[in-house]
Symmetry: C2
Amino acid sequence: MDGTQMPAAAAAMTARYGAGAEPKAGPWNDTLALLLAHRSVRSFKTDKPPEGTLEALVAAAQSAATSSNLQTWSVVAVDRPEVRAELAAIANGQKHIEVCPIFLVFIADTSRNSRLAAEAGTELVGMPYLESFLVSSIDAALAAQNAVVAAESLGLANVYIGALRNDVTRVAELLGLPPGAAPVFGLCIGYAQEGREGEVKPRLPQDAVLHHETYDADDAGHRAAYDPRMEDFSRRQEMAGSNWTQRVIARLGSFRALSGRDKLKEKIIALGFPLR
Amino acid sequence: MDGTQMPAAAAAMTARYGAGAEPKAGPWNDTLALLLAHRSVRSFKTDKPPEGTLEALVAAAQSAATSSNLQTWSVVAVDRPEVRAELAAIANGQKHIEVCPIFLVFIADTSRNSRLAAEAGTELVGMPYLESFLVSSIDAALAAQNAVVAAESLGLANVYIGALRNDVTRVAELLGLPPGAAPVFGLCIGYAQEGREGEVKPRLPQDAVLHHETYDADDAGHRAAYDPRMEDFSRRQEMAGSNWTQRVIARLGSFRALSGRDKLKEKIIALGFPLR
């Protein structure tokens, strides 16, 4: 820890948690500063990053831990404008999917392991369980987050696109996925448009998320403290001035907001994950 | 990119992919070096990291993207030796769970959102689907990976403990989890014992994992190239000298190796995720 950096640490914690809600001060360095400064960005320049950037991001992604080194994930880089346009439509019209210079689809992928077993003339009897889909989705997420950190270290903004799950069947068709491979989310990467880098979004107080020894469900006070912070944030960002409670209810309180993801289970099963 | 760093970049790529299998050279910086150097470590000193370290790691974790800002994850820091011992037993006797100074259990947690809705007198009809369990597991993974990167930037080694899923029911009991909260994995964090930092583990060739436009399932050559690299690695690390094909089949080819995770689905449902 470098004492001269502490004002930066305090400022980063205030941006993330709000004034008065900062957690206990601790060690600090440039990596923590990078991680704390994360923002999801949806306005990209079309400028391409330097040659080899995609490969560097994927090398970072492959360096993340993977359960039992099974490496049950893949990533598809999609450039074709007509495919980007259809993916944007699936994601309820998120235009940035068409604009960003790098668009990745992360895949929960047990098909590689199945090909290996088929070649060896054996059957992977441990495969058809919920566990395999969960492991491969977590593997994909760990890998993707490393790619995000790598991107941000190179000055590249990004945003995850969970809305590809609105129709995993069609995404899998577009990408030619084999059985046992399912899209879990997309990722837009590129340089942020000037002035559209956004502001660090406040999160729940740390005490609402971090528990000691056992889970403490008495968190109404933490949520009440967070609501006005999110309301202020949303006003400043020129969105509707709604608080966290209102946003959670808007997102999860209606069947319509699922955008078809109520069908995710049957579609994932059809893509070759029996989910036993 | 700093030209003087390129030998470091090349060395890091060789360590991760093997000589002759390095991807195209691209940008490089200290963050990429940190990410590429990841190793899972299972031998920890008992020395505690400085005050405020846990809070810094959780601040990094909370700074990761979270789907629709729903923040559907939590983390429980477990110190009590008797609980650590039982968690280690659940994880097939992984002693490092008892030794490491920081042990975290990451939780897929929709219970906070449910409490909010109950207080507001409304029902989250979008919740009881596979989608919610998947989102909360991915949220937990993105958060955890940020904590891992933060830890490594502070010189702290770590290893994920997926084997907590051998018995999520008992883990949930030990941590007093409310309905709608399920353990997804653990994470050991601490200083590596000298000489036990391990070696960077080679991964599949990048072309086996990164696809362009559509998925290329013709990867037998990539797997064949990787097998001897993993065999060499496992010999050097004094494990059984087995290649990747053998390891995948050992891990997934027997029902016994599931260690009870064939019951994961019914246990997750019982923990309050209907998985519709």
